[in-house]
Point group: C2
Chain length 166, copies 2
Amino acid sequence: MQTKKKTPEFYMRAALAQARKAAALDETPIGCVIVKDGQIIARGYNRRNTDGSTLAHAELTAIRKACKRTGDWRLEGCTMYVTLEPCQMCAGALVQARMDAVVIGARNPKAGCAGSVLNLLQNPDFNHQVAITDGVLEEECRLLLQQFFRGLRERHKQMRSQTDQR
Amino acid sequence: MQTKKKTPEFYMRAALAQARKAAALDETPIGCVIVKDGQIIARGYNRRNTDGSTLAHAELTAIRKACKRTGDWRLEGCTMYVTLEPCQMCAGALVQARMDAVVIGARNPKAGCAGSVLNLLQNPDFNHQVAITDGVLEEECRLLLQQFFRGLRERHKQMRSQTDQR
């Protein structure tokens, strides 16, 4: 029996499922998965406030798990699917892990380091470059973030108006 | 009784002690400490091969521990003392942690991201910049690395000559 080849959208949907776990914890909804030979070998979602750790970004969590699973700090042959363009720390980790490729949902014009602010993934001065694909389920990834920030603003507004009424 | 103010060399010596722990494990000897209000609150040394993890760099280990100790992903008011200029991942983590400053022993011309290849710590497009001091116990930090790599080359040479004799 031949296994049906999965589409990039299939893996990005798995990353979106991770991002929703972050949203459920009131964390900025960012999620990712790492894929090797067609299989998801690690998952991660943002838990920065919940864990109180700088390192609790979705991408670093998934890289840590993938290393544990493969027993190697080199994640050659792996691709990361992530709902938002990685920051400078996570883009740096992708290069350090020698990951083959990253597939991005939404761009992050203010802080993204896969081409928006900087392109850390394809700097010819480093000893490794990571291939980039973007725009996979872009609208779904962007809407999830927009809904989260809208909800946050509304709650802040409500809190302010309750304070004013006292 | 007044506590005597510690010098940058004092903290760099503590970072060097961490680097020697890495050397004892046959890991590239890099170590660091994080200091807040004059106290060392976290230590780290390179364990990348030992742990088989991309994230097992000295700096990320110390940041993880400092977050655990303070309960906060923001390491404001903290300074890192590190024996070698940080890579792109660790420099990115210093910005993400909103660390005040980093004090560097030796520069890393091939991969350093605190000014050698790139300066990720002081990019005006990011929402935080990290102050940089370098050259503290530079020779001691550099010599430790040079000794390690010389030892590595000699062992490779011996292994090759043993193979040739067979």
